[in-house]
Subunit: 373 residues, 2 copies
């Protein structure tokens, strides 16, 4: 069974095997591994140990986003979030429930964020200190131009949090070139091709030091993690870490290195996406995002207009043919989503397109166009 959900992804057998061992997280042997993974992630993000730190947190993307929001925004602090889709809404809700004051910037969801719109919104409200950007919006498949957005945020003297959960490991991140970025956050189980249960923030040390005591949560205080894990210097984890998942990530990072780093991984994902995108058009389906704007992580497909269309029925038919896709959509209009990430190749995507073609027949869908078409 090939996972073509937007994460957790299909992993290599060696990565999974690395999760199947007993580990003692406070032992010295583990500390080397624990620090080694942090160092590798910091380098991948373009960070130097003098200016940035890689901070581990058990859990999922929600947790590391909440940790960044709590750590870098004071209670009542204001953050502008361009409304790219479900994951921007997630950031808004996390901020609001944590007692921060998020400002949702309404934008068209079928095209990339316009940096000028961000600049205008920031210029109009000097009480907004931060912009919160979803790098790859899983709900739609669109990718944000964080260089261009970062430039306008910087020009306005504001700061930025980047939700790179569905991006890090493939899409470029260079924190050294982005002094406006307080933190880039991500998990192990997307483009890094590890397993779920583990998140990281790459954060600016000076901003961490200025944020001590602000989080209102010991668990989610990145400044405390920095103190415990990095500056204390003994290398001990702060709380019990998901040791097996860290070990699996370490193996996954070996494969990222072997592949030639994020640039080559991105090229593979783009090839996956291209094969999928073109193949889906070839079999008569209509895509949500225009080809020029389609990101390499996930492809959204409009639901066929046929009355026989049924998402779960399609997912089940496809599963019988060996491919697992997401069984819910986050777009305003109905459709389905196919992930292009994980330990998969264009060859796999060719097979997936052929299976989708047959699965539509299996469930009796004849009209593959859009309702509105």
């Amino acid at each position: 069974m090939l996972l073509l959900i937007p994460g957790p992804v299909t992993t290599r057998p060696e990565v999974r095997a690395a999760a199947g061992v007993d580990l003692a997280p406070w032992d010295f042997d583990f500390r080397d591994l624990y620090a080694g993974v942090r160092d590798r992630l910091l380098r991948l993000a373009g960070g130097a140990p003098e200016t940035h730190a890689a901070l581990p947190l058990p859990g999922c993307g929600h947790f590391i986003n909440e940790a960044a929001l709590r750590t870098f925004l004071p209670p009542g602090g204001r953050i502008l979030v361009p409304g790219t889709g479900g994951y921007a809404e997630r950031m808004v809700r996390l901020a609001r429930e944590a007692g921060r004051d998020p400002v949702l910037l309404e934008i068209d969801r079928d095209r990339p964020i316009d940096p000028a719109a961000v600049a205008a919104a920031l210029a109009a409200d000097p009480t907004i200190t931060h912009a919160g950007i979803v790098y790859s919006e899983t709900a739609t498949g669109l990718v944000a131009d964080i260089d261009a957005i970062g430039a306008v945020v910087r020009a306005q003297g504001r700061r930025m949090l980047v939700d790179a959960v569905s991006a890090f490991g493939a899409l470029p991140v260079d924190v050294a070139a982005h002094p406006e970025i307080d933190a880039v956050v991500f998990t192990a189980n997307k483009c890094l091709e590890g397993l779920p249960g583990l998140a990281y923030a790459i954060a600016r040390i000076d901003r961490l030091e200025a944020s001590v005591g602000q989080a209102g949560s010991w668990s989610f205080d990145l400044a405390d993690i920095y103190h415990q894990v990095v500056t204390r210097g003994d290398g001990r984890p702060r709380f019990t870490p998901p040791a097996q998942i860290i070990n699996a990530l370490n193996t996954a990072l070996d494969f990222l290195e072997e592949e030639g780093g994020p640039e080559n991984r991105l090229a593979r994902y783009q090839a996956n996406m291209g094969t999928l995108y073109d193949g889906l058009i070839r079999i008569g389906l209509r895509l949500y995002v225009a080809r020029a704007w389609q990101g390499p992580i996930i492809v959204n497909v409009h639901a066929p207009a046929d009355p026989q269309w049924n998402l779960q029925g399609f997912v089940d038919a496809l599963k019988r043919r060996g491919y697992l896709i997401s069984n819910f959509h986050n777009t305003p209009t109905p459709g389905f989503r196919v992930g292009c990430i994980g330990a998969i190749t264009p060859y796999d995507m060719d097979g997936a397109v052929a299976a989708m073609d047959r699965a539509l027949v299996d469930i009796g869908v004849h009209n593959r166009g859009e309702k509105s078409a």
Copy 2:
């Protein structure tokens, strides 16, 4: 290598193998597993689905304790925490940083909590709504009598949170007999003999419903988890769960069942502890907790008075002999800690005692008595 740390514990190979598979957490197949584990945990806690719910949270013991404190105490809410040791202090700090008002009850750390002291402290301060009890204090090895403490909390019309991280799966829990308990919280990687990265709360449904909107954190809102995972009824996880760790826990629960449940597991741990305790006395070491009060989870040993004593040196020597113990202590006086839990038997403990005997010789310790002796 046998892990004799107080958790993560030595697991069975089948449990570890269950972590080495790709899983799609939103797929229907996974939902059955996800719900099945919750049902099994609820039954283990003596809860009925009409009155209680088992609520999963990615992460560690800190996270699930913070979630319970945030969910059941309003901002500024007051909780009495008997100061059993490091894990009581953890609850106090988690509550304080979350904007709750913890009250530490100072007690002797080398004997169990006196229920009368809890009763007196509650009677003296009617603004305290909750007691927070660490069931098995890993810092010392003492176990709390939650039946007796629960009775006084109930008699005073207060409520209780139980940190059962180092207890659940072995020490008895019966939430039906304890209407005062809002939640019992625990992780997968201690007496349940699963892997780290996953926590649960067994919580009263009526109290969850009365706590909506109180947590001040979307991530840590048990009322929201209850709504998303249980009442919505489609069985989908709330956020990306650590699917492999859940799968491993499911296998670990098979073994708990095969062993005959928590009662038999407790008997095995007690036998482990007895073999260890008596063996350590036999080789001339002095124990922190009196035999009558020694809990079955972890044994604390006083540091030998010999000037050659060095905790890390001892840990390293023991590791060379195949046994891994904790390399830090949480007691006011120096010492070392040996876990009695995990997929281990009294036979293993005999071997551990013999290895400790030799490891002390390895590092040149001759005087094994206490400094104060």
